[in-house]
């Protein structure tokens, strides 16, 4: 029973029994793991009330198959400015639930960990924007291996960004040039080149999608993500409600 030190973001918290909590952590070192925190509701000494959604923590855990045991947690940051803004809470919750659902258990994915932390830092420091959400999504699909081809048409091998017109068909989960396919939603090559740029930039805030292109990129990303989930995300309805009440 060796104690293990690692760094993590809290993806989900569940009250368990009288005073325990079961927490889903995304650890940098071990990927997604579930931990039981005994007496977490009363024991401020051990956990100091930091077992909160999207908090970034340093953990002491005893790793076990199935349910690991949380021994202690120190806060790196609770992202205080996210907590002051309903839409930011919405975006951060969405990023956590999406990561949770797209990640297999106990498989380290350092690139996704860094992506999630950068997104939370971005939300904490700057006004929230739909562009950043789309930037997060396309990069998440990329590092989890679910990204559609954005470079060449899967049918004829033509370069997508230089085609006059592109089409997207959710069932074939791909983007092809307009010459190869008659069916599917028309999309602009500019949208695809912006998605490509978002993959290459590696920095939030560097890419901005102009109005209609944002809608196009959003439509494609939403449909790809939905095709990998067996049920809709709770956090997405919450996000929509938050954006509505905040007047976005």
């Amino acid at each position: 029973m060796r104690e293990n030190r690692c760094e993590a973001v809290v993806l989900a918290v569940l009250d368990y029994g009288e005073a325990d909590k079961i927490i889903t952590f995304f650890t940098r070192e071990h990927g997604k793991i579930k931990c039981i925190a005994r007496n977490a509701k009363n024991s401020r000494r051990r956990f100091g009330g930091v077992l909160e959604l999207f908090a970034r923590l340093r953990l002491q855990i005893v790793l076990r198959e199935g349910l690991s045991r949380l021994q202690g947690a120190d806060v790196v940051t609770i992202f205080p400015h996210i907590r002051e803004d309903l839409s930011k809470i919405g975006y951060a919750g969405y990023a956590c639930e999406l990561s949770d659902r797209m990640l297999p258990e106990a498989q380290a994915n350092v690139r996704l960990y860094r992506l999630l932390v950068s997104y939370l830092e971005q939300l904490d420091s700057f006004p929230c924007s739909a562009d950043d959400r789309r930037f997060f999504e396309v990069n998440l699909l990329n590092v989890t291996g679910y990204r559609p081809a954005l470079e060449i048409c899967p049918n004829c091998g033509a370069e997508l960004v230089s085609a006059p017109l592109l089409r997207y068909l959710p069932t074939q989960s791909g983007i092809s040039c307009g010459c190869c396919r008659q069916a599917g939603r028309e999309i602009s090559p500019l949208t695809v080149s912006l998605l490509n740029a978002a993959l290459q930039s590696g920095r939030f805030g560097a890419i901005r999608f102009p109005g209609t292109l944002l809608d196009e990129a959003g439509g494609i990303l939403d449909s790809i993500i939905a095709s990998h989930l067996n049920r809709p995300l709770h956090s997405l309805s919450f996000l929509q409600e938050a954006l509505l009440v905040e007047g976005y």
Binding site: R44, G93, H234
Partner: protein, 197 residues
């Protein structure tokens, strides 16, 4: 589990549904009740009594036997309403003695991940009370967890346009904590030093 009897197994099954009760505890409790029938009868009776007589106040949704509850029907300040997540939070603030107004119990908090949406809470009922025009201050006393903060932010968006003074418990309350676990003196200070939003 070893088969004991149909009704005993059923009792154990019911006890296990209670928070914090596992298989072993349920068996111990069931055998205890079986050994002292008087206790068992008294427990059964008080359960039935609670279910028949205890309800939620139709104004503030606190636990009560009389509707409206003693706080809503008494002489307490009707111009201030303290909004809490759960009945036990109301009790925590009452213990502090620092709040002289009335209450509104939401019965939960908005949760981005657990799908608790505004429609699942007593928010519309709160807004209806506020539209009555009597209320001058709303004290948001939801927990200092992500869910509690989200609920307070959401209510702020809805209540601000009504021109009612909004306050939040002062940040003496430790981060991430449930009010019911905070000591009375801290709750008292947080109510007295509440911040205007």
């Amino acid at each position: 589990m070893i088969y004991l009897s149909k009704s005993l197994t059923k009792l154990i099954g019911e006890l296990k549904k209670l928070p914090g009760v596992g298989e072993k505890t349920a068996l111990r409790l069931a055998l205890h009740l079986l050994k002292s029938p008087a206790n068992g009868t008294a427990l059964a009776e008080s359960l039935r009594e609670v279910q028949n007589s205890v309800r939620f106040c139709s104004t503030c949704y606190a636990i009560t036997e009389d509707d409206p509850c003693y706080i809503c029907s008494g002489s307490r300040d009707a111009t201030a309403i303290c909004v809490v997540e759960e009945p036990q939070d109301l009790m925590a603030i009452e213990r502090s003695g620092a709040f002289k107004g009335r209450y509104h119990v939401l019965h939960g908090a908005l949760s981005p991940l657990n799908g608790v949406m505004p429609g699942n809470l007593r928010i519309n009922q709160l807004l209806e009370r506020l539209r009555g025009g009597m209320v001058k201050e709303v004290l948001l006393a939801t927990n200092f967890s992500v869910e509690g903060e989200a609920t307070a932010l959401y209510l702020t968006k809805l209540i601000k346009p009504l021109g009612i003074k909004l306050t939040r418990l002062a940040y003496g309350i430790p981060l991430g904590s449930d009010l019911e676990y905070v000591d009375t003196a801290t709750v008292q200070k947080a109510v007295e030093g509440r911040n205007i939003l």
